[in-house]
Amino acid sequence: MPLLKWMGTMDDRIIDAPKYWQSIEGQPVSDADEFPSGFVEEIFEVVNANKSRREFLTVLGFSVAIPALTSCHKIPVTKALGFLNREEDTVPGVANWYASTCGGCEAACGLLVKTREGRPIKVEGNPDSPHSRGGVCAVGQATVLSLYDSSRFIQPLAEGQPTTWAAIDGKIPELLRTANSQGKIVLITGRVSSPSTLAVIAKFRAKYPNFEHIPYEPFSYSALFESFEKTHGLSAIPNYSLSDVDTLVSVGADFLGSWYGPVAFAKDYSAQRDVSKRKGAMLRHVQVEALMSVAGSNADLRVPVAAGDETHVLAALVREISTLSGRSIEFPALQLDAGLLTAVRAIAADLWKAKGKSLVLSGSNRVDDQMAVNAINELLGNMGRSVKLVAATEFAVASDTRFENLVSEMVGGKISALLSIDANPGYAYYAPERWKSGVSKVPLQISFADAPNETSKSAHYICPGNHFLESWNDHALGSGKYGLTQPTIQPLRATRMFQESLLRWAGETLDYYDFIRSHWKAQIFSRQRRQLLFEGFWSQAVHDGGIDVVEASHAKATFKNPRLNFDLGKREGLDLILYQKTGIRDGRHANNPWLHELPDPITKVTWDNYAQLAPETASKNGVKTGDMISIQKGTIHLSLPVLVQPGLGTNTVAVAVGYGRSECGKAGVGVGKNSYPFVAFAEGNYQRIQRGVQITKASGHYELALTQTHHVMEGRDLVREVSKAEALSTATALHSTQKEQPSMWPEHKPGENRWGMAIDLSKCTGCSACVISCQAENNVPVVGREEVLKRREMHWIRLDRYYSGNESNPSVVHQPILCQHCENAPCETVCPVLATVHSSDGLNQQVYNRCVGTRYCANNCPYKVRRFNWFEYSQDDAWGRMALNPDIVVRSRGVMEKCSFCIQRIQEGRLKAKKEGRKVAEGDFKVACQQSCPSDAIVFGDLADPDSKVAKLLEHQKGYQLLEELNVRPRVSFLPKVRNP
């Protein structure tokens, strides 16, 4: 099927239609160079009269300009391409929404994908999704751009040469048969939670019995998954739920940033910390960690420790809990720091008080650490409540030991075929030389990657898979819930779902869609009672994005005391911790410029990775931010710029993974450095925390592209904090102190609506989903590292991060700042062309076509939320342009832009209400940042409507505004951050 051209493709040829255009003095003007007859002679006559070259040029200049100017009332011809064969539901100009499931990571959050003219342009959370409940993280929001990645494979390749699927399907099966007889065929995937995919793999195995499926995750949870087998006798996946938790202790697990499923955590976390809703109860969050993580920045109590001490903390915690519970857990005695012991004792007491309503998490990849956590949760009575075990029968989880064995077998020449999808060991494996030598011994390598990567580089056959937005798939979510992925666009290129390739080569005739249906009919439909007929059941499931009425089969878990070992050997040098950034994660999204330009929630660095050092460590080594250091462990070394990070654990270096890609599209190549070689395989798992690391100061300086270099509030109370008691009191003394100050401007006449926003600082975790959501919705461009260095980043909403307290363990707060839509806007008064005006419903409007680029408005804005297009940032990549939202203009060079309160959504909502003959009501629309926030921190609505959520919120809790003393009267209010000491 041909690729449908976007309507309105510009044709650059200028076509003249002399009969029908206005002309100069009755003459047709077909060319800018042609003047009406007699005109040129007149010019020369004037010129000759004066005999001066300068005057000639002056007159000529004027006269040439006018015909040129007037002949440009011709505009380029535009073609309008209608559909050939319109799909019933696709109406040009009207968006269609499809329920699907995100493939940005393994959390499988439910999505509602907005499509226009048959292509997806925006991703939102599906409120009906049982675990994500309408939230999507920054990575999920950015996946819509990765669909249009122009580096994606466009067709299958055989030995680097383009080929067809028919040719592939003719050749590969016989190659596989040969491989089957000569050695082992191995399929490496990411973590698989799709029952249909596992069934497809089973079919493949039936055809080629000498086969193994090995899931691989570079930043693996294999210790977490293995631990349950040892402590509870079950091969299981944990499903966490904070919905009934009062005390949460996380040891190194960034559960709000990148660990395991941040969206699901964020929803309940914010609900449990809503003091007013819970009438005074508030979830208490303790974070013990080396890294300053997103989760840690929100903790009520944060205990920074050296990276290598996280294990010791767990040891101490296990001991304390076992003492309190009276049940002893065996492990050899351990010397622990006295200060740490006191802290752990207090934490243990807190946990014990909240028995049954607590949760302990660990980000460690040591099995013993996770077994300790399981023991703690068991003793606290959390099993079956905040931690539910889901039998791993419908999952294939990564096991680091199995992968290590695979590499050994590869080196030993035992693997005859390697098929890979969603796995990039060519980049992320910690011993690249070993991988290379192993791969060179595999005679048949097939990659299903959708875009070139380090693993597909050595593949003999590229059979590119679809992006998840082009695919059918299913997901087991545990506890009888299943999600579905449905395609939102025909495959853009000649790609094919990898499951389909496997089915073909296994000799099956069904395509993957029918396969999923038959699998669901047999395995899932039979377990539910709501629908009698399969077709009805299937349609409902596709419409909803999944199903959650299936009877769950719970396996019995019995706890047995584990034998634990926390001895990590001699301690020397520094500890190194490798972590995932909220945007880039394990490196799979390295070609997504949105995620590179997303400022890290804590460090605010874009476009690079770096070595984080605590201020004490940095000064001890005589380095400051930007200085280069060389990190060394054994034979592995890496030189990186330093970033001094307050609150980082002592004696620790922290480096993000996922950078330094060499084989990906142009956005990701060469950005940062690859830190995966520091991973070590120890105790059966890939360890991300290393001891015995040395750092030495190196020569050179590197400017990190930070978006926030000013960390002080300069004595202004930009962020207000209150205690729990103060938050509950109805006294308004602490809240808005804005007295009615006199204003020299007349009051705006009230319109039908008064749009306003309330941002709850207690709920904002800093996850940055709003930033990417706004970028996707409003066509906000990416500017690149050099421009970010000049402070020219374009994000309409930013998260300011402030520290308070002492440098070694600061309190952190995140504050989203967007255009405050001031009633007495300082920007409106200074625009010489009135490009920024105030609407009758309270919006500060930016009219792009009037803007001449004076930039006086940005100068005058006290909140610095205005963004100027210094260059033509709009994409010239034909693929990337497909991600643009057609409802909003793409700004060109020289135009100022800023948050518009998603005026296109307000218009849509207003129109919807108009068509139904009523006023705009709550729920007619949601602005982008509000819709994507997993914590519901942003509430937008009509302040003129006393029943609206935002009006009620501000009435009872009375938010405050920023810089009230300026009397600009912003429409955005902030609810103070509630601390829970």
């Binding site: 099927m1 041909p2 051209k5 309507m7 309105g8 239609a17 029908y20 255009w21 206005q22 100069i24 005109f39 007149e42 010019i43 006559e45 004037v46 009269a49 004027f62 006269s63 006018i66 100017l69 007037t70 440009c72 009332h73 505009i75 011809v77 535009t78 073609k79 309008a80 391409l81 209608g82 559909f83 050939l84 064969n85 319109r86 109406v91 040009p92 100009g93 009207v94 005006v837 609407s839 009758s840 419903d841 919006l843 409007q845 930016q846 009219v847 792009y848 076509n849 009037r850 409802d887 203009v889 793409v890 518009s900 005026i903 296109q904 218009q907 129109l911 108009k914 068509k915 003959g917």
Partner: protein, 181 residues
């Protein structure tokens, strides 16, 4: 004498300049009267005029959203599968479907990208198609009847007076971003 001639010439040049700048320049971007040749000689006169086919049969998108849209080729074939099968123009339709290639119509009415105009809002308000698009049912070749300039839009909005359910004047007065965002 020379001075008078020079003076007159200078005045002519200035007058020309003013005429061009003030009058002609105002017509920049104004494509009123544009009547291009189309790849298929589709005649609105025959379809909308003689056969009285409702505008919204083909331009159904005008009721739903911003754009009225060009009808999909398949819609033409609803009738032309049978009607005037042998006409060379209809053959072009069949060829397009056979080649799976959309027909490249030349767009007649085009607003700049920074203008927001929503057809469905106006259709809902029962504004006749002919009010803006002119006597389409008499056009053999589609022509842009109105100037589609901002002044022209505002003229109508200002003159409408009180239209239920609310006053159109206030709806668009001063709120630049009602149409420019």
């Amino acid at each position: 004498m020379k001075k008078i001639v020079t003076g007159l010439l200078v005045l002519t040049v200035i007058g020309l300049f003013v005429e061009l700048a003030a009058v002609q320049a105002k017509k920049i971007g104004n494509t009123q009267g544009y009547e291009p040749d189309q790849p298929i000689s589709f005649s609105h006169k025959i379809h909308a005029g003689e056969n009285k086919i409702n505008c919204r049969y083909c331009h159904f998108a005008s009721e739903r959203g911003r754009i009225a849209g060009i009808p999909p080729t398949q819609l033409c074939m609803n009738c032309h599968d049978q009607v005037r099968k042998d006409s060379p123009e209809i053959a072009k339709l069949r060829e397009a479907i056979a080649d799976q290639r959309p027909i490249e119509w030349v767009r007649v009415h085009e607003l700049p990208a920074f203008v927001y105009f929503n057809h469905s809002e106006h259709v809902r308000a029962e504004v006749n198609c002919q009010e803006c698009h002119g006597p389409v049912e008499s056009m053999t070749r589609m022509r842009q009847h109105s100037s589609l300039t901002m002044g022209w839009c505002l003229d109508c909005h200002r003159n409408m007076g009180n239209a239920p359910p609310h006053d159109i004047k206030t709806a668009t007065g001063g709120d630049c971003a009602r149409c420019h965002y």
